[in-house]
Amino acid sequence: MADWRQAFVLGEQVPAPTASAEPDEGHGPGPLRRLRERLGASRRALAAELRASVLDRLEDADWERLEEALILADMGAPATARVVAELEAEVEAGGLSDPAEVRERLVDMLAELGSAGDRRIDVSAKPSVVMVVGVNGTGKTTTIGKLAWVLRNQLDLSVVLAASDTYRAAAVEQLEVWAERAGAEIIRAAPGGDPGAVAYDAIEAAKARGADVVICDTAGRLHTHGNLMEELAKVRRVISKRLEGAPHESLIVIDATTGQNGLRQAQAFSRAAGLTGVALTKLDGTAKGGIALAIADELEIPVKLIGVGEGIDDLRPFEPREFAQALLEE
């Protein structure tokens, strides 16, 4: 498993991890290799493009192909144009000559785009509150299940889940399944109940039982629905009123297949819920998730987590260099 201790800001009382908490220890491929395999399978086309363009001769057509590859990765036209222009300028200035150097520099530049802010998740307060938001269908509930599992099984923290998605049919039932899998408690209300009240109750419960982290699920909503965004802002207000300094984290879940609309989503949710990070999901498909780099770069919201599969242990800390490398790797 990845070293999860580096991915969090932890409180003092957290004990050293116990070896028994590693579920796939001793069998299966290592975490990095596994990630590369998963990411790599989908990156071959891009890698081929890049080898053909960057590593051979550097002509106009090659720069165009490089541009194409980055746009096909959903990096967006502005970020792509900038990266390509910068790299081109550096090559022309004679700073880079060896194809391997050009490639390294490209990895650097892509990693730099994704390096905004502190990527650690702050769970140092007791209890800490992590709010999870996003548009419909990005994988909020699944990500919460995986995050709860990491906190519980990798860091030995106790977790309370707040089932604040009181809107979607069977959302609570879905979260319940994950709570059981992850070994977390769940606080729920009747369907159609007030999401703020559920969050409030969950914080109460966490305090009463001395739990370490509260993760608050919210209903998926399109960022263009003003009243629903206002509801989200209200949930946040309820949380911060009940607990000073909370929510300590407010994560937006972005689907890796999302195109340029991801930027608008991040902007709107940032206004309503004060985002502290991005969780990028569904990287096990062929989508490259370049929009996350654009979000980190343009809005300076750090990418903190990536989802690479449907299993409970398929969550990883985001490593910009690794991500950039995986983009270019076969």
Partner: protein, 444 residues
């Protein structure tokens, strides 16, 4: 963020009018703007390339180069080409005359399949028809519960056998039940799956073969980026879907994925989901989608309206007059009437891209239709000479005009003064400078 494409094209192609001819370099500049706009809308890179080449050819070929407003003409061509690519009028699902019509829904995780299933079932259930849902998503936790709840809301039967059974088995069983209970339609929900997941794609093929559906529908999220093409191609290859249902169109995604998928698979887009409520499913409108991808407001219908009310020759005369400041009150009256023929002023401005700000100012300025009536009355009370040369209007003429139009001398004064200033502003406008719209309207 990206501005309205038509505004950007106007900018790119402004100055062309003074030279009177659009060169190939101008067209190339315009194509770059279109390319950016389409990429911003998430249209696939390769589709964009083919598309801009086709548009360029048409722009260079037609009489666009010599036309009065090349920016608008290019915009119109782009929109037409886009609508054409998006497919003609969409079809509704036709229910077979006997036995349940089976519709299989497939797509990635989180694209909105389960909700779309319930919406489609409700849509098909109208008009004395009955529909049912089959719960074949045994993967996602609580997916069956969700479908059962949505089925209840939609007032349709849901056939479910929990999550232990095999999806193809459930589908076959549900079809038997639907036959027995004489349902007219059966909508089969399936688990979301990645197109690269061999095992789950094989499962989908088994569900299809078990039910032999009349239509297989790919559910596609309107926010999907460049990857839409890979997804659609994989699903087309494995299950050969018949049409597309586009979801989450109530957001602000441009939805370029729709164009990509339509282009690479040739499959029509049948429905669009425009809200979370179960009745918020619409037939797909290619022209509206084209405008949306280009971020153009409804500029197409505005152009059509303008074309209906004015002929080209007249427009060219007017254009020349404005440039030379020979624009008279008679011309103004005719313009006013033409504009009013197109509909209420506020509606027209709303259709114009980039006019959002002007609209607000207009409301603040309290320009109402009544004021336009008064302006018409004042001009109609003038002699032809006065309309052509407002300078001749002296004190006694003013009194006569005020009396004739039922207004005051001050009102007549104001109009004459404003007209003089407007003439200057319009000349500026014709030379390519955009004056403040409020200034233009109030003549300040």
């Amino acid at each position: 963020m990206f501005d309205q494409l038509s505004d950007r094209l106007q900018q790119t192609l402004s100055g062309v009018r003074s030279r009177g001819k659009l060169t190939e370099a101008d067209v190339d500049r315009a194509m770059r703007e279109i390319r950016l706009a389409l990429l911003e809308a998430d249209v696939n890179f390769k589709v964009v390339k083919t598309f801009t080449e086709a548009v360029k050819e048409r722009c260079l070929g037609a009489g666009v180069l010599e036309s009065l407003n090349p920016g608008q003409q290019v915009t119109k061509i782009v929109n037409e080409e886009l609508s054409r690519l998006m497919g003609g009028s969409s079809r509704d699902i036709a229910l077979a005359s006997s036995g349940p019509t089976v519709i299989l829904m497939a797509g990635l995780q989180g694209s909105g399949k389960t909700t779309a299933c319930a919406k489609l079932a409700q849509h098909l259930a109208g008009q004395k028809r009955t529909a049912a849902l089959a719960a074949c998503d045994t993967q996602r936790p609580a997916a069956v519960d969700q479908l059962v709840k949505l089925g209840k809301q939609a007032g349709v039967t849901v056939y479910e056998r929990g999550t232990e059974a095999d999806p193809a088995e459930i589908a076959r069983w549900a079809l038997d039940r639907a036959r027995e209970e004489r349902k007219d339609a059966l909508v089969v929900d399936t688990a979301g799956r990645l197109h690269v997941d061999e095992e789950l794609m094989a499962e989908l093929v088994r569900v299809r073969d078990a039910t032999r559906p009349h239509d297989v529908i790919l559910v596609l999220d309107a926010m999907t980026g460049q990857d839409a093409v890979n997804v659609a191609e994989a699903f087309a290859e494995r299950v050969d879907f018949d049409g597309i249902l586009l979801t989450k169109l109530d957001g602000d995604a441009r939805g370029g994925a729709a164009l990509s998928v339509r282009t690479v698979t040739g499959k029509p887009i049948l429905y669009a989901s425009v809200g979370e409520k179960l009745d918020q499913l619409e037939r797909f409108h290619p022209e509206r989608m084209a405008s949306r991808i280009l971020g153009m407001g409804d500029v197409l219908s505005l152009i059509e309206k303008a074309e209906r009310v004015s002929d080209q020759q007249q427009a060219e005369d007017l254009e020349r007059k404005i440039r030379r400041q020979q624009f008279t009150l008679e011309d103004f009256l005719q313009q006013l009437r033409q504009i009013r023929k197109m509909g209420p002023l506020s509606g027209l401005l709303g259709m114009m891209p980039g006019m959002g700000k002007a609209m607000k100012q207009l409301r603040a300025a309290d320009m109402d239709e009544g004021e336009l009536d008064r302006i018409e009355a004042i001009i109609l009370s003038m002699t032809p000479e006065e309309r052509a040369r407002p300078d001749v209007i002296d004190g006694s003429r003013r009194r006569r005009i005020a009396l004739g139009s039922g207004t005051t001398v001050q009102a007549v004064n104001q109009l004459v003064k404003q007209f003089g200033q407007m003439r200057k502003l319009m000349a500026q406008l014709a030379k390519g400078k955009m004056p403040d719209p409020q200034q233009l309207l109030r003549g300040r």
